[in-house]
């Protein structure tokens, strides 16, 4: 029963990663790549201060995006799970939140242009309110735009697992807390948040891996002015420097897997399904 699954994962996941690992030890000329066994690519990677800066920038994006998606995702899920009273409305509003997930990410990025551009809605509004007399240049094509797009794209990945966990919280626990004299804030902090942790962890895994592996959002929203590891890889690919791209990819993969392995210590995914 699992042989098709195994075959697909073997050929399109395990083999490609193996291939990248092998190629990361190869050498490259301007026109071709040459099989070899050299640590050149890794030496270059670890010896360059650019690598360090770019990795730090990647972590920065991941952490800042995580904070915002968690705050927004949690609040939205909490509203849906505990303040919307009928199941019909819960389902309808939940669907309304998830529909954008099934539409194109690239279009959703493009759609920020009329908002954030020099003559965009945000700038016109700010100028007409007298907040600023010149268009703000940093709205589009900046770290601000990158983070905004990440939050816009990935809050669903945080909100949905949290909502899912919240819906399984036994409502009588909350009544018990109320009977014992807890106020709303205490119930939220001492009952709901601890019971929601597995959902938060799953959402965190999604958001961190999506942001760390991204290259297209950073390229598009920063107007090629900022870099993360994904862009480092895609730039190397564009220059046909596959061995160098492969070495960077391996380091990125190891980083992501270490982060995920750490997070998985706090949650048993199989139990949460």
């Amino acid at each position: 029963m699992v042989s098709p699954l195994m075959a697909i994962l073997l050929f399109f996941l395990v083999l490609p990663v193996g291939m990248i690992l092998i190629v990361s030890f190869w050498q490259a000329t301007e026109f071709s790549i040459i099989p070899a066994f050299s640590f050149e690519n890794y030496e270059f990677l670890f010896g360059s201060s650019v690598t360090f800066r770019v990795f730090m920038n990647t972590f920065k994006y991941a952490v800042v995006t995580w904070v915002f998606t968690l705050l927004i995702g949690f609040t939205v899920a909490y509203f849906l799970a505990f303040h919307v009273r009928t199941q019909r409305w819960q389902i309808a509003l939940f669907l309304l939140c998830t529909i954008p997930f099934w539409t194109s990410n690239i279009i959703r990025m493009i759609s920020w242009i009329p908002f954030l551009g020099r003559n965009g809605i945000a700038n016109s509004a700010l100028m007409s309110w007298g907040v600023t007399d010149r268009p703000l240049e940093w709205l589009l094509f900046s770290d601000f735009a990158v983070i905004l797009a990440f939050v816009h794209l990935y809050t669903l990945f945080m909100g949905v697992p949290i909502f899912n966990t919240m819906m399984r919280i036994d409502k009588s626990l909350i009544e018990a807390a109320r009977d014992a004299g807890a106020n709303g804030a205490q119930i939220l902090w001492n009952v709901i948040v601890p019971l929601t942790k597995p959902g938060i962890m799953i959402g965190t895994i999604f958001v961190i891996t999506l942001v760390m592996g991204d290259f297209i959002t950073v390229r598009f929203m920063s107007g090629s002015q900022s870099a993360n590891v994904g862009r480092l890889i895609s730039n190397d690919i564009a220059l046909l420097a596959y061995p160098s791209a492969a070495a960077t990819a391996i380091v990125l993969l190891c980083t992501v897997l270490i982060v995920i392995a750490t997070l998985l210590r706090f949650v048993d995914i199989r139990k949460e399904l």
Partner: protein
């Protein structure tokens, strides 16, 4: 029984409203801007109201091969959808029992979900180029997309089978059903609504996938690749017109899947479960 709503409800409801505005606002904006007049640009103000940019989409020379790429994305989406549903159901059934390697396979599925997409793109591209095969959206692109849709399908199936009441199957077996009959006439009808969900994931994730097809689609682009190419050299509202059309198409697909779910749920509610009726 219903207590009056507190202040926190209204604060949270306002927050939720703002969140929806944040989610949908930009998309609605480009939908409006795609009706720009012929002299209009990428931002407000509107220079009149016209279908000029939609008409442009239908002229080959203006925008490249978007209809070809749409056809390819549609076919690829269907292929990915069918394989995702079938393989996820088989995987879900198999994972109900432990088998040699089940733990390793489970973590492979998780890896497939969390691995940066560009690694799949790069790795599959390298394998094909080094072994002299040609990358094509229907082979290398197809496989690469499955590594993204299958984990979603499988996780949904795991969740479904975790809640599945095994006594239905035992009853079928006691009545003399063969293993295949049990699956065909008992298990599949019960899990059918979730399969619609898996199919929706399979199709839309494939239809919108960019990173995993970037280096694996070959010389014929899928729609997201074509759109991304346009962002670098098209600076007119034709981009918005295309965005509006693909978003409408996605909404149409979502609508179709949701109404199938809704109709089948209604039919079930009216007739009771139809599990087993196929036996006659």
């Amino acid at each position: 029984m219903m207590e009056p709503r507190g202040k926190s409800f209204y604060v949270l409801a306002a927050f939720f409203g703002l969140f929806l505005l944040f989610l949908y606002g930009p998309t609605v904006t480009i939908a409006i801007l795609s009706f720009q007049g012929p002299g209009g640009g990428l931002t407000f103000p509107m220079q009149g109201l016209s279908l000029h940019w939609f008409r442009d989409l239908f002229e080959q020379q203006a925008v490249g091969d978007i209809w070809g790429s749409f056809r390819r994305s549609f076919v690829l989406g269907l292929m990915v959808m069918v394989v995702t549903v079938v393989v996820s159901v088989m995987g879900g059934l198999a994972f109900r029992h432990r088998f040699p390697g089940s733990n390793v396979l489970f973590y492979l599925i998780i890896t497939s979900l969390v691995i940066p997409s560009i690694l799949i793109s790069l790795g599959v591209g390298l394998i094909f180029s080094q072994s002299g095969l040609e990358v094509h959206w229907s082979t290398s692109g197809f496989g690469s997309q499955l590594t993204w849709t299958l984990p979603f399908g499988l996780l949904i199936m795991f969740a479904v089978f975790n809640r599945f009441d095994k006594s239905y199957e035992e009853a079928a077996r006691d009545l003399g059903a063969s293993p295949w009959q049990t699956i065909r006439h008992v298990v599949l009808p019960i899990i059918a609504p979730s399969l619609i969900g898996v199919a929706l994931f399979g199709f839309t994730l494939s239809y919108d996938e960019f990173a995993r097809t970037l280096l694996t689609a070959g010389s014929y682009n899928t729609l997201p690749l074509e759109i991304f190419g346009m962002t670098t050299n098209v600076t007119s509202p034709v981009l918005y017109a295309l965005g509006t059309l693909t978003t409408l198409f996605s909404l149409l697909i979502i609508g179709v899947f949701l109404s199938i779910t809704w109709l089948s749920a209604r039919r079930k509610a009216r007739a009771g479960s139809d599990a087993g009726k196929g036996m006659i």
